[in-house]
Symmetry: C2
Subunit: 388 residues, 2 copies
C-alpha cells in the first residue's frame, strides 16, 4: 500500500522512477574522474536553474545547513541584520543570526501575509551610517505558503549596501527567480523540493559583492565554510565527502527539469496552485493566504474547519485513502494543513488528493458535496489545456 | 563495465544490493509515524554498534560535519585542547578546534606511527590547574591506516577531567570499540564506511559527562547543535529534514551488520588486513604501518615503489582492470596508495584487487612474479577457514 501513497507534503516530495533507478547504481569513488565530471555538469546546470553566472555550491546537508551557510559566511557577531519573518523559516533565519551573535531587526508579518518591502525601505532609510549588513527573507515560506516579492524587496533596498540573502529552498524551480537580474546576493535551495530527490543536499550561490563581504567575516564554522567549497569546486570536487548517490540522482533530476523547461514548470506550478485553491474554495474551506498574487505555487495552506481536528482528518487521509498532506507547524499546529504541490507531482495526483480530502471531510461530518472540489480541479485542468 | 567495478577506497564503500533496493523505495514523509518508527529502531541499533547506553544521534552531513559537532558543542574559544595527529584527519581536528578559537596543543606523529599515550600522560600531568578540556584522536586514521589504541589513551588520561573525543568514522564496526567500557565521551562515525551506505549521514554519541560540559558551551553553530538533536530524538525525530533515503538504507545495513554479529565482523576485518599485508609483503612492496598491532583492519597503506608513478599505476588499475584503490592525501600524495577493505567487501574482491595490482605493476616493469600476492591471500583465507 505504502508504495502507492500520494505524498503531497512540502518536501520530501515524490521521486521520479528515473531518479530512483539512477540512485540505485553501485557506489562511485567521490574523487574519481567520472564523479568530477558529474559534479561539473551538475554545477553548470544548477547555474541555469538559479539563472546566475556565479558558482552554485553543493552542500551535503539539509536546507537548514545551507541557511546557516548563508549567515555564517557573511555575518559577524554584533552585525546588524534585518530578518523578514512570515513563518517558521523566517523565524529560523532570526535564530541562526542570533546564534552568530548578530543584532537582529526582526520584522514579523501575520501568517498568510507577505513581507512588506516598504518596511525594509523605511528601516534602511534610517540607517544613515549603513550599519545594516544584510536583509534575510524567504522567497517561498514553506510553513504558510506565502510567496514573497523578492524583486520588490530588492528595489526597496535601493542603493543601500546591505546584502540580500534569500532562502529559496521551496521556491527555486517553482516560481521564477532570476537571481542575477533581481540582484539577490546569496540564495539557497534544497534537494527534496522541486529538485525531486531525497533530502540531504542543499545548494547555495554567492555574488561577487557577497564574496567581498566574506573577506571580512570571522566565521566560527568549518563544515559550512564556503571558501573551501569555492576552492574545491574550481577542481570539480567538494571539500568533504559529498552524498554521492544523491548527486547522481540530482544529475538525473536536473536533466528532467531542463528537458521540461523552467517556463513550462512555472506555468505548471501556477496551474497546480489554481487547481488546489479553486477546489478548496468550492469545498467551502478557507485559504490562509487571501491575496492570489502572494499565494505560493508550491504549497497551499488551508484552515482546518471548525469542529474538526487535524489529527482525525490526517488519520483518515493516511490510513483510509493513502494520501499524505502536511499539518501546520509551531503556533499554526492544528490550525492549518498544507498541500504540497511541488516536485514530482502530476495533475491527477492533485485530483486524487482532493477526492480523498472530500471523502475524509465527509466522513467527519463536514458539509461537503462529494465531487465539488474535484470538479473545480477538472475545470482548471481543461482551461489550461485550451489556453495551450 | 562500471557496474562491475571493485571499489576498494576507504569510503564510499561498495553497497549491498539489499541496501540499494531498500533505498530505491518511494519517498516517505520525514514526520510520519512510519518514519519515526525507523528513526527509533535505527537509533536503538546504533547504540548496539557503538556499545553504549547513551543516545546516538543521526546527522545529515558527511563525517566532517560530525567531527565539527564533536568540537563545537563542547569547546569554547580559548579552551585548551590536545589533538593527536597522525594524518590528514587528525590535522582536520586541529583545524576545526582552531576555527572555534581553541588553544590547540598539537601532538604530531610520523605517518604510520600510532599516537603515543605516554605523551598524553605527560602533558596532562603538567596541567595541574586542569585547564585542558579535551583530548581529540582518531580511532582509525583513514589517511595512513593507523589504528590508535583508544583504551590505552583513556588509561593514560587517568583522573584528569578532560573529555576523550574520538573520530571513529572509519573505525566503528571494523575494530572493537566498546565506547562506554573504554570511557570515550564523544564518538563519531559515518555512513559511507563500515555502515555500507552512501555518504551523507554521520552518527555521534555523547556521554553524561560531556553533556555537563555542553551546558557551559556557547556554540556559534546552529545546524550541528546537539541539544536540538537530543530534544528531537526523544520524540523519534530530527531537528531538520534528515536524509530519509539514506536512513532507510541504514536500517537495512544495520540489520545486515547485526545479523553478521560484531565479533564476526571484527574477525573478518582482521582476516582482510592479514590478506592484504601478506600479499603486499609477498610482492616485495613496503607497508606504511610496520607494527602489526597498530595496522588498521579497515585500510592498508602501501608505499609506491621507486620509479613508479601512482598516477600510471592508478590509470592501469582503473582503466584496464576496473579496480579502484585510493591514493595518498596531502603530503603523502604520490608516496603511498591505500586499499580500503571496509564495508561491503568479500574476500574474493581482495583476491581480484591483488591480482589486478600484480598485473598493473608487472606492466609498469616492477619485478613481481604473477600470482605471488594472490597465493598469499589464498593462504590466509584457508588458514582462517581451518581455525573456524
Amino acid at each position: 500500500m505504502y508504495e502507492k501513497q500520494i505524498l503531497l507534503i512540502p518536501g520530501p516530495t515524490m521521486i521520479p522512477p528515473r531518479v530512483l533507478r539512477a540512485m540505485a547504481a553501485p557506489s562511485m569513488g567521490h574523487r574519481s574522474e567520472k564523479f568530477s565530471q558529474i559534479i561539473k555538469e551538475v554545477s553548470e546546470n544548477l547555474k541555469k536553474i538559479f539563472q546566475t553566472k556565479n558558482d552554485v555550491y553543493i552542500l551535503t546537508s539539509s536546507g537548514s545547513g545551507a541557511m546557516e551557510a548563508s549567515v555564517v559566511n557573511f555575518i559577524n557577531p554584533q552585525d546588524k541584520v534585518i530578518v523578514l519573518v512570515n513563518g517558521k523559516f523566517g523565524d529560523r533565519y532570526a535564530k541562526i543570526n542570533e546564534r552568530v551573535g548578530a543584532e537582529v531587526i526582526r520584522l514579523d508579518f501575520e501568517p498568510g501575509v507577505p513581507a512588506d518591502p516598504e518596511k525594509v525601505r523605511e528601516i534602511l532609510a534610517q540607517d544613515t551610517n549603513k550599519e545594516i549588513k544584510a536583509v534575510f527573507v524567504q522567497q517561498n515560506e514553506t510553513s504558510t505558503g506565502i510567496l514573497n516579492d523578492i524583486k520588490a524587496i530588492k528595489e526597496a533596498m535601493g542603493d543601500h549596501p546591505a546584502l540580500l540573502i534569500v532562502d529559496s529552498i521551496s521556491g527555486m524551480a517553482v516560481a521564477d527567480f532570476p537571481v542575477d537580474e533581481w540582484g539577490a546576493d546569496v540564495v539557497v535551495a534544497g534537494s527534496q523540493k522541486a529538485f525531486m530527490i531525497p533530502p540531504g543536499l542543499a545548494f547555495i550561490t554567492v555574488s561577487e559583492k557577497a564574496w567581498k563581504v566574506n573577506e571580512q567575516c570571522r566565521s566560527f564554522n568549518f563544515y559550512f565554510d564556503l571558501r573551501a567549497a569555492k576552492k574545491n569546486l574550481a577542481k570539480n570536487t567538494t571539500p568533504y565527502t559529498p552524498a554521492t548517490s544523491l548527486i547522481i540522482g540530482l544529475k538525473e533530476s536536473i536533466d528532467i527539469l531542463l528537458e521540461e523547461g523552467l517556463e513550462n514548470i512555472f506555468r505548471k506550478q501556477l496551474k497546480y496552485k489554481e487547481m488546489v485553491r479553486e477546489a478548496v474554495k468550492a469545498m467551502g474551506l478557507e485559504l490562509l493566504v487571501q491575496d492570489e498574487k502572494y499565494a505560493s505555487p508550491a504549497i497551499t495552506a488551508i484552515k482546518v474547519p471548525e469542529n474538526i481536528a487535524w489529527k482525525d482528518l490526517n488519520n483518515l487521509l493516511v490510513n483510509e485513502f493513502n494520501v499524505m498532506l502536511a499539518g501546520g507547524q509551531d503556533e499554526l499546529k492544528g490550525k492549518i494543513f498544507r498541500i504540497g504541490h511541488i516536485g514530482y507531482v502530476h495533475e491527477m495526483d492533485l485530483v486524487v488528493a482532493i477526492a480523498a480530502l472530500e471523502m475524509a471531510l465527509y466522513k467527519l461530518g463536514y458539509p461537503v458535496e462529494l465531487g465539488t472540489g474535484v470538479k473545480a480541479c477538472q475545470e482548471v485542468i481543461l482551461k489550461y489545456k485550451e489556453v495551450n
